[in-house]
Every structure is written in C-alpha cells, then in structure tokens.
C-alpha cells in the first residue's frame, strides 16, 4: 500500500512539498514506516541527520502512534520531530 507521510518542522527542509510517499505491505506497522522513511532519507536527503528521525514520532490526524500500531487505513500519516510550541 502507499503511505503518504506529511513532513513538519525540520523535515520540511528536505522536501519542497513537505510530503513523502512510501510503499509498504498492508500488514506493516509504524516501526516499518520509520524504517522505510530512514531508507528514503538515506537515498534522497544527503544533509539529513539520522538523529532527527530517531527522536521523531509518527501520527495520524487524531493521535500519536506507537511503533507497534498498524498503519492508518487511509494511509495518511505524519512524522513529528521534537515539538517546540509556546
């Protein structure tokens, strides 16, 4: 299945349209999306610091997801670097 990952904060610097589309199996978990995004970053973002992804979470529009959670059925996700609001 195709999973569209929205990019926020520091991730925005790597893709002009602030999103990445990854191909994953239907039974993939959030941890697999993390691995797939790491692979994508390694291939496409030469300046990327892997620590940013290490400290980032994944989320749907409704909640932050855990590593073992399934991918949202609509294939829409976001990667959330450490937050700095307020």
């Amino acid at each position: 299945m195709k999973v569209e990952v929205k990019l926020f904060g520091a991730f925005r610097d790597y893709e002009a349209d602030a999103r990445v589309t990854l191909e994953l199996t239907p039974e993939a978990k959030v941890a697999d999306v993390r691995d797939a995004l790491a692979a994508y970053a390694g291939a496409h973002w030469p300046q990327f610091c892997p620590k940013l992804l290490k400290y980032s979470a994944f989320a749907s529009e409704r909640a932050v997801l855990r590593e073992g959670d399934p991918i949202p059925a609509d294939g829409r996700m976001a990667v959330l670097p450490p937050v700095s609001g307020g």
């Binding site: 929205k6 926020f8 904060g9 520091a10 925005r12 610097d13 790597y14 300046q47 990327f48 610091c49 620590k51 940013l52 400290y55 980032s56 979470a57 989320a59 749907s60 529009e61 409704r62 909640a63 932050v64 855990r66 976001a78 959330l80 670097p81 450490p82 937050v83 700095s84 609001g85 307020g86």
Partner: protein, 166 residues
Amino acid sequence: MDAPAAPRHHCAVVDIATDKLDPAAALEFVSDPGFGGITMFVGRVRDLNHGRVVTGVSYDMFDALALNGFAEIAARGEAQFGPKLKLYIAHAKGRLGIGDLAVVVAAGTPHRDEAFRACRLAIEAVKHESPVWKQEHYADGDSVWSEGCSLCGHDAHAPAGEGLAP
C-alpha cells in the same frame, strides 16, 4: 452543580496571516459569575535566544492533531479540577515578529489556586506535547528549527545540543 450549557473550553489555531491572538477574548471566555479567579499565560516572541539576536519566528503546526491535543488537554484539566473550569487555549501559526503573541492560555475557576494550576497544566502540555514547531530567524540571516521535546514514548525528551536540525 450541573454543567453550564455554553462550551467550557475554547481551543484554536490562529493563522496570524489573517488573524491574531486576543487576550481580552480569552479573559472574557473563561469568565463566569461563579468564578473568582482567572489566570492567563501569554507567550511572546523574544528578541534574544541563547544569546542570538532573533528577528522573528515561524511556527509550523499540524493543525488537526494540535486541535485534538488541545481538546484532550482541556479534558485532562476537567478530570483534575472538575467541571467548574473554563479553559482557553490558542496558539499562533505562521511568521511572527518580536513581541507578537505566540500562545494564550487562560483558566477560570471558583478559586485562584485551581486557576493557577489549571493554567500551568495547560501551557506545559501545549509546550511539551502539541505538534508545533518553532523556527527562529536571526539577524545574521540564518534560520534554525528549535530543538524540542520528543513525542516518542520511549524517550520523552531529546537531549539538548545534539544538533537535530540540519
């Protein structure tokens, strides 16, 4: 006492390209004839951070998730302080100048101790949990995404100074 009919919590993401944060509206919203205490926190853009001259900041936000989170924070406040609580949470997004308002949180309660505690609970949660990202712009033309709090459950805070931003 029954819960009043009007909504007790106001949560908003304010795009400052077209709108602005309004502390007076926050005070008004959390007021109630039964409330004696209102505490409000206003966060503004500072001109200096870690010794660098800041000319402005940009806030990026995942709006839908942020609004969900603000509502969850309000529910947590109600669980802790009961239904005699009105809470107002509004965060700016977009490009802000020095002195511009970044966040307004206000809590109204019958007595002042709960008002202080609810306001503090809300601003801490907004700062530590909400999907909001600050990019600081400096006088020398450089811009840097602030390091922040990791939302990964396994590691609540990113270590400071590790250079997460590119």
